[in-house]
């Protein structure tokens, strides 16, 4: 029994049970807790994976009895995209924030190698966002809009034979990250006997390939029996339809064919009611808890270990996350500083070089100037000398001119014969 288990566990912590002699009143605790949650509202996120046209949107519409987005996708998507939409539903006093993530273009490409990668990336991104919020210094977890995927409905094509390779591959990559519930879509194309065989084949394939699908919990006695029987009916063969037909005197959701009418909520026709029961009425809270306690913790552990954090240091002494974080942070800052220094050195270097070049140029220019100046100076001096010579010449010439004129004048005044000799003498004397 669950209650004695709790008592035993609590007793292990050295606590004594005590008996009350009257009504204290803390039996209202679960109600207090539930009221708080009702005030805050619930979040539930469903991921639907399946080929285009397999009936994902119709099934979700039928499950929640409302009509969500109507957009029909084409088959010509170049790669798989995920489209998330959030809706707020309210039933009596419960507010549910439902997010439906659809895979658009899954299974449509010719080369399907990368089909599952965008899905895995999306799921990891939601975990990462939550982890970031949790690791912040100033955080507000209690009003954080939780976008982690709580359940993945995997739609299997009703071929009647076995799982496709793409299905196996995708599920194998997702089973440790999200709760997978496989469903057989468009189950009205398979007959009852074929369906039995198909289900057995599918489950055995999943088991033999080690794919861990979500098992409905059987540890709580109130729901263990029903969960156990439901576990035996997996995968659920579902039919979805929002069209209503009159059967007997009631309006029921059904699909009409010339050979008969398939009623969605008739348990003989398909497992839709079981799916709704299991998904929403019985196990929604467990799905949310598994996502948080198992898948998210696994992601967190892997991510932190990847970043180099450990719980025990090199000498096997417990090292706190904080210390490792600080060490890493310091390392990072050291790195940053080193890079800065490097860049600064380089900058200084460049500046020096440029300066050297400029100085060089300046010096050259100066030298040239000096040279030119000198040349100019020399030229000038030469010219000066020449001028001086010229002037001297001029003076000499003028003197001689004056002297000869004087002589000529004297010669005219005295005798010509004597003068000739004297002229000559005088000339020689001059």
């Amino acid at each position: 029994m669950a209650s004695s288990e709790v008592a035993r566990q609590l007793q292990n912590d050295n606590c004594r049970p005590l008996s009350l002699s009257g009504h204290v009143g803390f039996d209202s605790l679960p109600d207090q807790l539930v009221n708080k949650s009702v005030n805050q509202g619930f979040c539930f996120n469903i991921l639907c994976i399946g080929e285009t046209g397999i009936g994902k949107s119709t099934l979700i519409d039928t499950l929640f009895n409302t009509s969500f987005d109507d957009r029909v996708s084409t088959h010509f998507q170049p790669n798989v995209r995920l489209r998330a939409q959030t809706y707020e539903l309210q039933e009596s006093n419960v507010r549910l924030k439902l997010t439906i993530v659809n895979t658009v273009g899954f299974g449509d490409q010719i080369n399907k190698e990368d089909s599952y990668q965008p899905i895995v990336d999306y799921i990891d991104a939601q975990f990462e966002a939550y982890l970031q919020e949790e690791l912040k210094i100033k955080r507000s977890l209690y009003n954080y809009h939780d976008t982690r995927i709580h359940v993945c409905l995997y739609f299997i094509s009703p071929t009647g034979h076995s799982l496709k390779t793409l299905d196996l591959l995708t599920m194998k990559n997702l089973d440790s990250k999200v709760n997978i519930i496989p469903v057989i879509a468009k189950a009205d194309t398979i007959s009852k006997t074929e369906l039995q065989k198909f289900k057995i084949k599918l489950m055995s394939e999943l088991v033999s390939n080690g794919v861990q699908i979500y098992q409905f919990p059987t540890d709580d006695e109130t729901i263990s029996k029903i969960n156990a029987t439901m576990n035996g009916h997996l995968p659920f063969a579902v039919v979805g339809s929002m069209e209503e037909m009159k059967i007997g005197n009631k309006m029921v959701k059904a699909r009409q064919y010339p050979w008969g009418i398939v009623q969605v909520e008739n348990e003989n026709h398909c497992d839709f009611v079981k799916l709704r029961e299991m998904l929403i009425c019985t196990n929604m809270e467990d799905l949310r808890e598994q996502t948080h306690a198992r898948h998210y913790e696994l992601y967190r552990r892997c991510k932190l270990e990847e970043m180099g954090f450990r719980d025990t240091g090199p000498e096997n002494k417990p090292v706190s996350l904080q210390e490792t974080y600080e060490a890493k942070r310091h390392e990072f800052f050291g790195e940053l500083q080193r890079k800065e220094e490097e860049m600064r050195q380089m900058f200084v270097q460049r500046v020096k070089e440029k300066e050297a070049i400029l100085k060089e140029a300046e010096r050259e220019l100066q030298a040239k100037f000096e040279h030119l100046k000198r040349l100019h100076q020399e030229e000038r001096m030469k010219l000066e000398e020449k001028r001086k010579l010229l002037e001297d010449d001029m003076i000499a010439f003028n003197k001689r001119k004056a002297a000869t004129e004087l002589l000529q004048a004297q010669a005219f005044a005295s005798t010509p014969s004597v003068s000739l000799k004297k002229d000559k003498d005088r000339k020689n004397f001059m």
Binding site: F26, P30, Q85, D121, M307, S320
Partner: protein, 340 residues
């Protein structure tokens, strides 16, 4: 986290394509409200934890009050004659843990008593051991929370509520009371009560309460329920009514007496029997309702979302500065900055 930029999912996968969440009508019954029952079953399976601390001078009736609250011998204080209460030289903290069950709901109750508080001649810093204890519990929880592989359910030893016993002087709050409540209301939910209220008449009680409320307001002390944490108008109306009556005037009793043919818990005196659970006599029912029947989950939530978070912020910021200090042999922050 620095150095680890989160790669956002490729542009085609936005987290929320609808800018405004669409509210939709359900055409019929879906079964969403069954999640409430699921939650109820789950919480009953895991059980609850509640940690209460009682603070006050010796002889004010703390142990009796706890026993009356939980209708059992939570604190075993021998009361026979010839027993001398040993008053410790410094404030000590003693915790007792019990498991109590009512109608399938299991609760692990821890009551921390503080003998020696306010009993010495020089009571300076007598609140320090208490503050240290409360912070130690936060530290324990923080360490568990930041482990890589952490437990599914982290054991919660944080003090959810601290009941402070004010002696029934009838005048004002004493400096010790003010100092204590001022410091502790910042880190834990403090619920002040007037102890041994059977020494005050109804008029004296009302006046005393008024003065205490004025005192608390004048010194900026916010006791539980704090005004800042009222979520919605309904809560505010409810809590305003409670705030009018704080501090509750209580009387504790663990003996039963016969009154009008019924057995009631009360104190028998020569001039009458004070019925503990009679709202006309004392306000014990209000205290019990506040602590247990209506606001227990709220006390735990405020401890977790407000007090624990502010401790965490302070602690993480502190260790940031510590890691870069010269004491550790690493580059001091100032040295680093001067290089720039």
């Amino acid at each position: 986290m620095e150095g680890q930029p989160v790669q956002p999912a490729p542009e085609e996968t936005p987290r929320n394509t609808n800018p405004a969440n669409v509210g939709l009508e359900l055409f019929g019954y879906v079964g969403i409200e069954a999640v409430l029952d699921q939650m109820r079953i789950k919480t009953m399976k895991t059980g609850f934890e509640f940690n209460l601390m009682v603070v006050g001078q010796s002889g004010l009736g703390k142990s009796t009050m706890v026993n009356t609250l939980f209708k059992s011998k939570v604190s075993r204080k021998p009361t026979g004659p010839g027993y001398e209460e040993h008053i410790p030289k410094t404030v000590q903290l003693q915790s007792v843990t019990h498991i109590i069950e009512e109608k399938g709901v299991k609760m692990k109750l821890t009551v921390t008593d503080t003998p020696g508080f306010g009993d010495q001649i020089n009571n300076e810093n007598c609140w320090d051991p208490i503050i240290k204890y409360i912070n130690e519990q936060y530290e324990k929880y923080l360490r568990e929370e930041i482990l890589i592989s952490r437990k599914r359910k982290i054991p919660d030893t944080r003090v959810h509520s601290c009941v402070y016993f004010v002696p029934p002087t009838g005048h004002w709050l004493r400096p010790l009371d003010l100092e204590f409540m001022r410091r502790l209301s910042k880190i834990v939910n403090v619920v002040p009560v007037i102890a041994k209220a059977d020494t005050l008449t109804l008029e004296e009680r009302a006046e005393f309460k008024q003065r205490i409320q004025k005192d608390l307001k004048a010194h900026g002390i916010s006791v539980y329920p704090q005004e800042d944490f009222d979520d919605n108008p309904d809560d505010r109306i409810l809590n305003d009514k409670i705030r009018d009556k704080i501090p509750f005037a209580v009387v504790g009793a663990d003996k039963e007496h016969q009154v009008n043919g019924k057995r009631v818990l009360g104190r028998k005196t020569k001039w009458g029997i004070i019925e503990v659970e009679n709202p006309a006599h004392c306000e014990f029912p209000l205290l019990r309702d506040l602590l247990i029947r209506s606001h227990l989950q709220d006390l735990k939530d405020i401890t977790h979302n407000v007090h624990y978070e502010s401790y965490r912020v302070q602690r993480l910021n502190e260790s940031n500065r510590l890691a870069l200090s010269p004491v550790n042999g690493l580059l001091g922050k100032d040295e680093v900055e001067s290089d720039l």
